[in-house]
Symmetry: D2
Subunit: 133 residues, 4 copies
């Protein structure tokens, strides 16, 4: 088990639910993304500022397992554990409902680094993440 | 000036921005809605529970003026002032950037009450909002 | 009545509905926007290309009246009528359900033109829209 | 290679792009979902009607590989191939840009069937999909 290095508390917004009354599947991916960007901010990086410098962290693959559906106004935490394999960073993320600590979704998100559009060593990220890996 | 009766602190999520680098216009409407639902929760009502009882607060009209664009990761507060005219509740809402207190958007949202699909006196809301109007 | 100069056929996607089973209010604004961008493409302009040249059509005000809710998989058309007042273009838009020609929503969207961030005469748009105004 | 049994032509809407100028990752999941619901409609099923009868097709797992980013106004097709393993249906889906037939994203989406909230044999779907499997 990789250690959890970051947590982000969030709350479901009603418009994120679909006609089944559950959070629509794609929104879990957005919760994962938002939490990764919060983590970046926490280590001093800003996603859009990096983009303007020609540095883009790009998702190459996601895998999400859905366990228990969130519903409107549910509070949850979204966690981050981090792994580096070759040129990729792999974010292992969970969405955990606060009311009962149930794991609602599990994500494995692979991110590569483009510099001016070319696959590159993620030096900016290596530096920023060095305490966490 | 109607008094502000509720505030909700929020933060822009990067996926809410469009290719101009600004929060896409429709998302301000979502911030207003999310804040109204938080206000409902604050006064003891749950939007989806009400729906299951056949009571639907339905937006009949929105007017939004856009002043200053929010960008990725901006923190802001969304405010609520409340007015009752005939069968309608009118929510006067603002989005105010926290860094400099600039008003980014102003909303006027008219809400009517349907009971089993029919326009009705908003008794549940009258009771819940009585301290605020 | 201003003449309708453009129509865009669309279909509700299920994720656009919320737990009430209706298309969430903010999505009508997205349908209006998508249709305006289709109209721009029709007259030879591309929203994002213009942005890269420093020309931004920016919404300064929207007013939407909600009449009849759309539900999952509904087909509809979104129309455009156009008016110019001073520096503003005003788009009068309707969302009309195809099954029974019911008007579901009415929008009035005011757009101004920024050139390098400054309010400007909308010359590019004047040229592109000249047949329609 | 499983045969493609269904295709849905779509077009990027500008609000689906993020500040990097590309379609935000979560939206590919929405394109896949929308195409599956179109496929259901094609075989005579309606997602929300099924829900009201207590039958819910629920995504249990998604895997998406991102190859080439879509940008604003890009036209693309989204395809479906279908596999049944045990109680699961597995949708193999692709997003292919029309201008050059480049594969932009590959999805593998696992769907299970709940009847009144319980994991069940997907009889409704077995019947509807029998020509395709």
């Amino acid at each position: 088990m990789r250690p959890i290095i970051f947590e982000n508390i969030m709350k479901v917004r009603d418009y994120e639910c679909d006609a089944q009354g559950h959070v629509n599947n794609a929104n879990y991916q957005r919760y994962f993304e938002t939490t990764r960007h919060e983590f970046l901010e926490h280590v001093g990086l800003n996603f859009f500022e990096l983009h303007k410098q020609g540095i883009d962290a790009v998702v190459s693959r996601v895998e999400i397992r859905y366990k228990v559906p969130l519903i409107g106004m549910d509070k949850f935490k979204c966690t981050v554990a981090l792994e580096r394999i070759g040129l990729k960073y792999i974010f292992h993320q969970k969405i955990i409902r606060l009311s009962d600590e149930k794991v609602c979704a599990l994500g494995k998100i692979e991110v590569v680094n483009l510099v001016n559009g070319k696959l590159s060593k993620p030096e900016v990220f290596d530096e920023a993440f060095k305490e966490y890996i």
